[in-house]
């Protein structure tokens, strides 16, 4: 299959791994963050950590949309969904995210009208089919997903659809990366940049990371060789003392992004002054809300939303995992009270969440492997 088979070649992976190992300076430790949850998933699905020398640690970033949504917003959404005149529509991943009183799935089981959609366009169909009900789309995701919501709003507006609105939780990746860079408890050497966010925003927004923080960034694709090659490119920059933004995923990502979706986002949405991220706290200008021009489609204005801030469950350490301070298996409830079937924290919900990726592929930190082998011996 084009663009798949050639990026999963084992011989090439071993060759890249050898080149990466050769670039490691003796005694130096490297911490590289993969910002995007899709990359986390590929890394664990294909066991890429096993290809890397001990001195390179991959730190999982905050780029999983459902993992960073704070509990208060889930409760707000649940409040909207509980109105008898409302049909709530949501992506599949969001259905399992726990709020203080259960998830969308739990609410659906109790009779709340919440429907799973694969695209916001499906929400428009539901709105057309139910003119006497008000359809609210739970909009969530980074700049990859925001264009889809924006286009759906533009289509609804052109059609004059009166019963469709959006509960907007779209977030933007750059302020989150900046928050991580400014976080005192984390020292990173470089970033594997998000691939599909970058098809929209391009590579230029990352230039401040290289310029102001002196860290290299390589925008990466999602196949195993894409990621290994990106790690090689990062290590090459580090070995040569360079910090630049490079584009490994140029077969898909144009350097300047795609202006058309950016315009659609800009037409329908604007930056919020601040937004809460799970684990990272409040970050300025890090999320989008519906523009006033489209106020008739803004669920936060159309309905009363409680907007109460809810603290995460005490046992949950998603915050530390999202910042890369803790590895998933170091969390107290990982794999015991918190599993993909019954998640306590959001990182266990989406297949892109670091905890779910660890759990599903049975991976553990490399330092524990000898320990586990010893434990297995008679």
């Amino acid at each position: 299959m084009r663009f798949v088979d050639e990026f999963r070649d084992a011989d090439k992976a071993h060759a890249l791994a050898a080149k990466i190992a050769a670039l490691c300076e003796p005694g130096r430790q490297y911490k590289l963050m993969e910002v995007c949850g899709g990359h986390t998933h590929t890394i664990y699905k294909h066991g890429l950590e096993d290809y890397l020398p001990e001195s390179i640690t991959l730190v999982h970033g905050p780029g999983c949309p459902v993992c960073v949504i704070p509990m208060g917003r889930v409760d707000d959404a649940m409040h909207l969904a509980s109105r008898p005149d409302v049909i709530m529509t949501s992506f599949g991943d969001m259905m399992r995210v726990p709020g203080s009183h259960g998830s969308f799935f739990d609410a659906k089981a109790n009779g709340t009208d919440i429907r799973m959609v694969y695209s916001p366009l499906d929400s428009l169909k539901i709105a057309r089919q139910n003119p006497d009900r008000r359809v609210v789309f739970m909009a969530i995701g980074f700049e990859t997903t925001a264009p889809s919501t924006a286009m759906t709003m533009l289509r609804a507006s052109a059609e004059g659809l009166q019963n469709f609105s959006v509960f907007c939780n779209h977030v933007t990746i750059i302020p989150a990366i900046k928050a991580i860079l400014d976080s005192p408890d984390l020292r990173l050497d470089g970033f594997i940049g998000p691939g599909h966010v970058s098809t929209v925003i391009g590579c230029r927004p990352y230039e401040f990371i290289a310029r102001d923080y002196g860290k290299p960034v390589v925008v990466a694709g999602f196949e195993p060789l894409d990621i290994l090659q990106s790690i090689y490119m990062l290590m090459l920059q580090l070995s040569q003392g360079r910090s630049e933004v490079e584009n490994q995923y140029s077969r898909v990502v144009p350097w300047d992004g795609n202006l058309v979706p950016l315009k659609a986002i800009g037409e329908t949405m604007e930056l919020r002054p601040y937004f809460e991220w799970r684990g990272l706290g409040f970050i300025s200008h890090s999320a989008l809300k519906v523009r006033e021009k489209y106020a008739a489609m803004d669920a936060e204005l159309l309905f009363e939303v409680p907007g109460v801030r809810v603290a995460d469950p005490k046992a949950c350490q998603c915050g530390e995992v999202l910042k890369g301070v803790l590895k998933p298996w170091e969390c107290k409830v990982f794999g015991t009270a918190c599993t993909p079937e019954t998640p306590i924290g959001t990182c266990m919900v989406s297949p892109e969440g670091a905890c779910a990726a660890y759990y599903n592929y049975g991976r553990m930190h490399r330092s524990r492997v000898p320990e586990a082998v010893r434990a297995g011996q008679p």
Binding site: R2, F3, G37, G38, H41, K45, G63, C64, P65, V66, F91, G92, D93, M94, M95, R96, P98, G102, S103, F105, D106, A109, M116, V117, Y118, S119, P120, G141, F142, T144, T145, P147, S148, T149, M151, R155, G195, H196, V197, T199, V200, F222, R251, V252, V253, P254, N258, V260, P261, A264, A337, P340, E341, T342, P343, I344, S350, P351, E352, N360
Partner: protein, 76 residues
């Protein structure tokens, strides 16, 4: 903690990644263009209707689709 659910009630997206909700998008081929900037695409597992309002896609092009919206042309 949420109540335990019977197996099979958790939605399975295509493969093991939720293609619609994440940063991961899928590459599909345009089969035919429809009115209102929509198109029928071949996903490899069947045909689906998606929006091509944000890209200049022609029949035969490979496009990157996320949440029902094409966001990029691939390899052109």
């Amino acid at each position: 903690m949420t109540a335990e659910r019977p197996p099979g009630t958790v939605p399975e997206c295509h493969g093991d990644i939720c293609i619609t909700c994440s940063d991961v998008a899928v590459e599909v081929r345009v089969v035919r263009l429809l009115p209102d900037a929509l198109a029928v695409v071949d996903t490899g597992q069947g045909e689906e209707e998606v929006s091509v309002a944000l890209v200049a896609a022609a029949v035969g092009d490979t496009i990157l689709v996320h949440a029902g919206e094409a966001i990029a042309l691939v390899g052109r």
